[in-house]
Amino acid sequence: MIRSHFKGVLVEGNKTYAEVTRDIALPTETKPSRWWYAAMTLATLALLAGAWALYHTFAYGLGTWGINNTVAWGWDIINFVWWIGIGHAGTAFTIFLLIFRQKWASSINRTAEAMTVFAVICAALFPLLHMGRPWLAFYIIPYPNSRGPLWLNFNSPLFWDVLAISTYLLMSITLWYFGMIPDLATIRDRSKNKFKKTIYGIFAMGWSGSAIQYNRYEALNKILGGLAAPLVISVHSIVALDFAVSVIPGWHTTIFPPYFFVGAIFSGFAMVLTIMIMLRKVLKIKDFVTDKHLEFIARVLQFGSLIIGSSYLMEIFIAWYSGVEYEAFTFLHVRASGKFSPDFWIMVLCNAIMPQFFWFKKFRKSLFWLFIISIMVNIGMWFERFVIIVSSLSQDFLPANWATYKPTLVDIGLYVGTFGLFMAGMLMFIRFIPIIAINEVKGISKLGYKKNKE
């Protein structure tokens, strides 16, 4: 097992347990500040835009989207893959950093998991709407039916995707909820309002903090964590198989599953960084999410960026080296130069080049640059999906079929709507749930201080 020898402190201020509870529980016990209402208003407006787009999609059909016969996958699948990628951060944070014994993750994993839950919900909306008749979505569940019984095509990656996404959503919610049961009990015990006490009490499920209970709870968490680790790898690999199993040039490559997986972790960590920088600013949690935490995330991003960058290079190299002219055409004449070259180079700049600035301590320490680069990575990862999906489809084997793609207002509305959903979810989360795992942080809050005393 890998052990990390961490020097220094993980929670600043040598806080007592009571102080840790007080500091983290504060946002759930006080009235939200003005910025919270402002952000909620923004989220509501975005949700309204989404509702308008949803109405148009339902009332007039998928014809209101920018997709056409040639480019049959457009913003819907781009946004789906993008949100799923962001949804990988939570589980990656909890599980992989747990496996590597990285205790610093304790302060961030609750927020990252919340992000996962809301991002996966946003992602799941797109394929659901893309079905055209979402009210028949239950057809994709294998159950004995009166249509034969006609079962699903179990050989199809699209069916694996349905399974993977729904399993992932369920697992993320379970991990997130079970992780917060002791903290809900903490809030329950602290609250003086009877109504609040009852609500938190229901969700805390009679948690008493007994060692016997903790023992089983830890065992359960280990099982869930151990299961989520292979799951998180499989989810984005299966999303990649949606593309890789087809015969479209630019999709039909074996590098896709690992490349998509790293891309997902990369974009997820970038989103965690963006959100943590903002939350740190407004919620006064600097003692728990220190500059060091942000620096660690930056290092992960830098490492991810190296893998992503080499994947880009490898794709282009194989396109040339394989001698398949369609592949070479897509990579060299459609993406690197040609109609989609601006998008391609934005992707390379944001994902492969910008995070390399994190080699320098100055950039890792500067909140401004951390924020800017994390946003750039989010944009870059969106463009990556755009380049993969649209460039391959719009110019494939038959030039007679070539077509351009332009998103419509409805496409944009839906995307904005999911932002609203995500933001609203996150805002409700920071309002009602302790955003840092109080019980876990208490276990590490004395680290670094004890040694000094001894």
């Binding site: 509870t21 694996w160 399974l163 903490t186 008493s208 007994s210 023992n215 065992a219």
Partner: protein
């Protein structure tokens, strides 16, 4: 059922650990320890390793086998459909489905096993030895019948801030 208990209250993890060690040296049986977080030192002293992982393994094996049987039944026996002349029984794509359902099944069943074993359900009332167990206090609960040694002074000497004799 409440019993007459001795409850030692502590406010520091290392003190509880040393008190528990002393109590165990004197062969005092500890009923339970309540605290704000899962301290591995306390858990290893007070509890036996949970058997939940063994159960999870059985769940996983069951889920894997039943998923295989289900997919085999649907695609080979019940409604064999030819997709471009490919064989109806093809194991590689089944691996993905078995893999995912094994994870889903194991997780779900383990959660229910945990809830059942700990008798936890939404809205259950918490039975706690005192206020602060989920904040900053540790409570060592000992059955008065098991107090074979001078429990009170053992705990006091190891940093207990309060000793209570009550029904719990």
């Amino acid at each position: 059922m409440s019993k007459r208990s001795i409850i030692g209250v502590f406010d520091d993890e290392s003190r509880v650990v040393s008190a528990i060690k002393k109590l165990k040296e004197n062969k005092v049986k500890i009923n339970d320890v309540y605290g704000p977080f899962a301290s591995h030192d306390i858990l290893s002293l007070v509890t036996k390793p949970s058997r939940l992982p063994h159960l999870a393994f059985i769940f996983g094996a069951g889920a894997a086998i039943s998923t295989f049987l289900f997919v085999y039944y649907t695609s080979v026996i019940n409604y064999p459909l030819s997709y471009g002349g490919k064989p109806t029984f093809s194991f590689p794509p089944m691996v993905v489905i078995i893999y995912l359902i094994t994870i889903l099944g194991t997780a779900t069943l383990s959660v229910f096993a945990f809830l059942g074993r700990t008798a936890t359900y939404p809205g259950k009332k918490a039975k706690m030895p005192g206020i602060g167990a989920m904040d900053d206090k540790f409570f060592v609960v000992i059955d008065q019948k098991n107090a074979v040694a001078d429990v009170e002074s053992l705990m006091r000497n190891n940093g207990a801030i309060e000793i209570r004799y009550e029904e719990f």
